[in-house]
């Protein structure tokens, strides 16, 4: 079963990041973080950027450390890790550009 967890680690991290950033988005709008200036943009954007960036770094770590074994099991773990990375990169990309609470 440890093989299955390794293969699914990337997608699971994506799910967690998606949940975290979506929750930060909702909470920030409700708590008025857009009105609090930060060194760059506002705290709402900063919080989401930090979460997204940290998530991408964690994904890269998974890509590096998760693959184990040989042959097809190793390939599947590697593919799973990349699926997670690309999913987080693409689906949370809007935190870069889009307006937040409008």
């Amino acid at each position: 079963m440890s093989w299955l967890w390794r293969a699914l680690a990337g997608p699971i991290l994506w799910a967690a990041m998606f949940l975290l950033v979506y929750a930060l988005h909702g909470a920030g709008c409700n708590l008025g973080w857009t009105d609090r200036p930060a060194p760059i943009a506002d705290w709402h954007h900063m919080a989401m950027w930090l979460a997204w960036g940290a998530g991408l770094i964690l994904h890269l770590v998974l890509i590096r450390v998760m693959p184990a074994g040989r042959g097809r099991p190793r390939q599947l773990i590697t593919m799973g890790a990349w699926i997670g990375f690309v999913s987080t990169l693409v689906t949370l990309f809007p935190v870069i550009a889009t307006s937040t609470c409008a």
Partner: protein, 854 residues
């Protein structure tokens, strides 16, 4: 005249063996195949006559029943579709009045989704999985039967409501406030909420046992990374069902409680929000599309290489694509809500995910096309339906990408364009592959070959009829025709498109009728099929046709790796030959490696599933009728049935290990800890945890989005309430300790004492929870108070289940059903006790945080 069977009979060798090449199990000595068959058939067959109909738990019988019943509901849904098309054929259609039209389109969608598509895939999975994985039955045969009876009873009530004129009429996704008691005062909406929830018991039951069967009941030494792709597809489906259905079940419970008791979860004036219903519904609703698609794709991945006389291209890429689909499909649900006023950034998250999910789908489509390209395609009937799938599903996928783009979605939302898209996806992605699957596996189902010509005619009628109906509907939608209108007197430009759609709709219906006729003809009059008529390598064809009740006389292993081992398996050279103990035995494995772990003894025919579903149904019936005082009787009956369920599971003696093969002996499941039941409980608690997480999502969502917050001051912040809550948690913790001690000391008198202590601790905790209930604010006052009551109800429900398990463990200990080797129900009790304690602690923390922050 029958269709000629494929000539040559050459079996395709799988490119990669399905078994671990490094493993080996010595073969058993060959025996007389007929004697083995008689012995096994005596043990595994259903009882004769009507009693057999009600008591069967065999996966072959139950799976076929699921599929046959789902086709009956499909026919009913199809007749409703014909009524809809008749009404829309002209702009002033007077065929149906608006009230009846509302009921009919609601029932059409609900029947096709909940009474056809999901049960059909469940039926296919139940019937096929043990065969293709090399097992004798599903992991929990009684659960299969329970699911079927719940499906049959619930589905029948839903359909009969149409006859009585009280069918649901708010659309198949039952949006509030339309579906609340103010706007739908009759029982129409209650029929949907309670009926669908009752039916979904079968979905949850199927999901648990599909998961456990794939993880634990494959052929010996078949690792996950080598199992047939169908296993991967159904594993993905089952996990999605475990995570996808609980939000719908929770939403249905909340809406029914609001309708019955005026608790304002969706009432915006009292802290609720109708959008919460939409979130909960689509958290289920969008993954549902993939829940339906994945088994169909599994059938395609099985059939395409065989019909192309080659092996599947890109096994690893397909497995990765399945994993990607399973996860990504849970990040799309908001694309059904693009027009409700959600902030742009949230829209963008879900738009990006909606576009991205096309990638794993496309990977599979390219793998199938590559397989076709690589092989020599034989255009037999299953292959025709596969071609129908390609044409239809790819078009549906492309319009799906269009709808994933927010600006286009805003324009096309709630128009006939969306109706066309969803039918392209669902008929293309599910119905065509299922028709291919039925055509392909019919010889294994009935042992006969089909009658020539009928099937092809049905295929062309369905294909032409479908595209004639729904392709034009894209145009109707782009011209602005909304969904669900009964008449359109001021829009003559829509009329000719609708008329043509209606004509082709009738052609499609004729095609489905001809398909059904073809199946009946094959079953009754087809020529005897020979074994493995397609020359397939998979284990489902390593058995006689029609498939016997026990599937395999001996179970496949590394030396019987594919369908070519049909005769050695029939002679008992595989693992665990025959049924010398007159027990329904199958192998249970280590989940990852496929190493044999123990021999699971499965349940024999019993009335218990029927009684249990009747008990659960009596609860739903009482609530539906509004006789709330009678509902507790249903709960008590269900508890009694549950007790009986466990009553026949244990053993009062230690059994010797069973010889599975030369040099390989294994214990029976009573004498192991890592049983199938334990894995099943983990799967069930995954679903349970998702339901709880959905409840927490509801609290969070209303807290930050609903306008009538903050909630009024509560009366909970008192010392007696805090002490009572702490007492409840402490008692649960004591119960957890007791559950572990009861297992550790199971062969001594102290084990019985600890089981008693655990039961007492559960009862103390339940009393404390009841005390907390007395101090709650009126749940009708505000959504926060209502949600707190639901959270408490969640804890009480799990407390009752945990107490039942503690009582079961006590009875096991006192009844001699535990020993050093036999652990009884304690491992299951521990899991539930941990879950109860964990969720209750989170709930208490949440309420405390609300009190502190308010």
């Amino acid at each position: 005249m029958t269709d000629p069977q494929p000539q040559g009979g050459r079996t395709i060798a799988p490119m990669d063996p399905m078994f671990d090449p490094a493993s080996d199990v010595a073969p058993n000595a060959p025996q007389r195949a007929l004697a083995l068959h008689r012995q096994l058939d005596r043990t595994w067959s259903d009882e004769p006559g009507w009693r057999g109909f009600f008591t069967s738990v065999n996966h072959g019988t139950i799976g076929l029943r699921f599929m046959a019943t789902s086709f009956v509901f499909f026919a009913i849904g199809g007749v409703l579709a014909m009524l809809i098309r008749a009404q829309l054929a002209t702009r002033d259609g007077a065929f149906l009045d608006v009230e009846l039209y509302n009921q009919i389109f609601t029932m059409h969608g609900s029947i096709m989704m909940f009474l056809f598509a999901i049960p059909m895939l469940e039926g296919l999975a139940l019937w096929l999985l043990p065969k293709i994985l090399g097992a004798r039955d599903m992991a929990f045969p009684r659960l299969s039967a329970l699911g079927y009876w719940c499906y049959l009873f619930g589905g029948t009530v839903i359909v009969l409501s149409l006859v009585a004129g009280v069918a649901p009429d708010g659309g198949w996704f039952m949006y509030v406030p339309l579906a609340d008691s103010t706007h739908t005062p009759g029982i129409n909406a209650d029929v949907w909420l309670l009926g669908v929830t009752f039916v979904e018991i079968s979905a949850m039951a199927a999901a648990v046992e599909i998961t456990v069967t794939i993880l634990r009941c494959r052929a010996a030494h078949m690792p996950l990374t080598r199992m047939p792709l169908m296993g991967w597809y159904l594993l993905g489906t089952a996990v999605m069902m475990l995570v996808g259905f609980p939000p719908l079940i929770l939403g249905s419970i909340l809406l029914e409680v609001q309708r019955a008791f005026d608790w304002p979860f969706f009432d915006i004036a009292r802290g609720g929000d109708p959008l919460l219903w939409q979130h909960l519904f689509w958290l289920f609703g969008h993954p549902e599309v993939y829940i339906i698609f994945l088994p169909a794709a599994g059938a395609l991945s099985t059939i395409i290489p065989i019909m192309s006389r080659t092996t599947i291209l890109g096994y690893g890429a397909i497995v990765a694509a399945i994993a990607g689909l399973v996860f990504l499909s849970f990040g799309l649900w908001v694309h059904h809500m693009f027009t409700v006023g959600i902030p742009h950034m949230a829209l963008a998250f879900f738009s990006a995910a909606s576009a991205l999910v096309a990638v794993p789908t496309a990977i599979q489509v390219f793998a199938w096309i590559g397989t076709l390209w690589d092989g020599k395609v034989s255009f037999r009937l299953p292959m025709l339906y596969v071609m129908g799938f390609f044409i239809t599903f790819v078009l549906g996928g492309l319009t799906g990408v269009m709808l994933a783009m927010v600006p286009f979605n805003w324009q096309a939302h709630d128009t006939a364009f969306v109706t066309a898209h969803l039918h392209y996806v669902l008929v293309g992605g599910f119905v065509f592959p299922m028709l291919a699957a039925v055509s392909y596996w019919m010889p294994l189902i009935c042992g006969r070959w089909r009658v020539r010509g009928l099937g092809e005619s049905a295929f062309w009628l369905i294909l032409i009829g479908f595209h004639g109906t729904f392709f034009l509907m894209h145009l109707t939608g782009l011209l602005g025709m909304p969904r669900r209108v009964a008449v359109y007197p001021n829009n003559p430009e829509w009329e000719w498109l609708n008329l043509i759609s209606s004509i082709f709709g009738m052609i499609m219906s004729a095609g489905f009728a001809l398909f059904a006729f073809d199946v009946v003809m094959q079953w009754l009059f087809g020529r005897r099929s020979w074994r493995n008529p397609w020359g397939a390598p998979t284990l489902d064809w390593a058995m006689p046709v029609p498939a016997p009740s026990y599937n395999f006389a001996s179970l496949p292993g590394p030396r019987q790796p594919d369908s070519s081992a049909l005769l050695p398996l029939a002679r008992g050279e595989g693992l665990l030959p025959g049924a010398p103990r007159d027990l329904r035995e199958t192998l249970a494995l280590d989940a990852g490696s496929g190493r044999p772990d123990h021999v699971a003894v499965l349940a024999k025919s019993t009335m218990l599933p029927l009684f249990t579903s009747a008990a659960i149904g009596s609860f739903f019936g009482a609530v539906l009728a509004g006789i709330y005082w009678l509902a507790p009787v249903g709960i008590v009956l269900t508890l009694i049935a549950g007790w009986k369920w466990g009553d026949i599971m244990g053993s009062t003696t230690d059994h010797p290990d069973v010889r599975v093969a030369p040099g390989l002996t294994l214990p029976l499941h009573w004498q192991t800890r890592n049983t199938l039941a334990r894995t099943g409980t983990v799967a069930l608690l995954l679903a349970d945890g998702t339901l709880y997480a959905s409840l927490l999502f509801g609290v969070g969502f209303l807290s930050v989005v609903a306008p009538a917050w903050p909630a009024p001051a509560s009366g909970l912040s008192t010392l007696p309430m805090a002490v009572t809550a702490a007492l409840a948690l402490a008692a649960m913790a004591v119960g957890l300790i007791a559950a572990h001690r009861a297992e550790a000391l199971r062969d001594r008198a102290a084990g019985t004492t600890w089981a008693g202590i655990g039961l007492a601790a559960c009862l103390v905790a339940l009393v404390a929870l009841a005390g907390l209930a007395l101090g709650l604010d009126d749940p009708r006052r505000h959504a926060r108070d209502a949600l707190r009551a639901v959270i408490l109800g969640f804890a009480v429900f799990h407390g009752v289940v945990t107490a039942m398990l503690a009582l079961r463990s006590l009875a096991d200990a006192r009844g001699g059903r535990t020993s050093w080797a036999r652990r009884g129900a304690a491992p299951i009790w521990q899991l539930f006790q941990s879950f109860w304690l964990g969720t209750s602690a989170v709930s208490l923390t949440l309420v405390a945080a609300q009190e502190v922050l308010s």
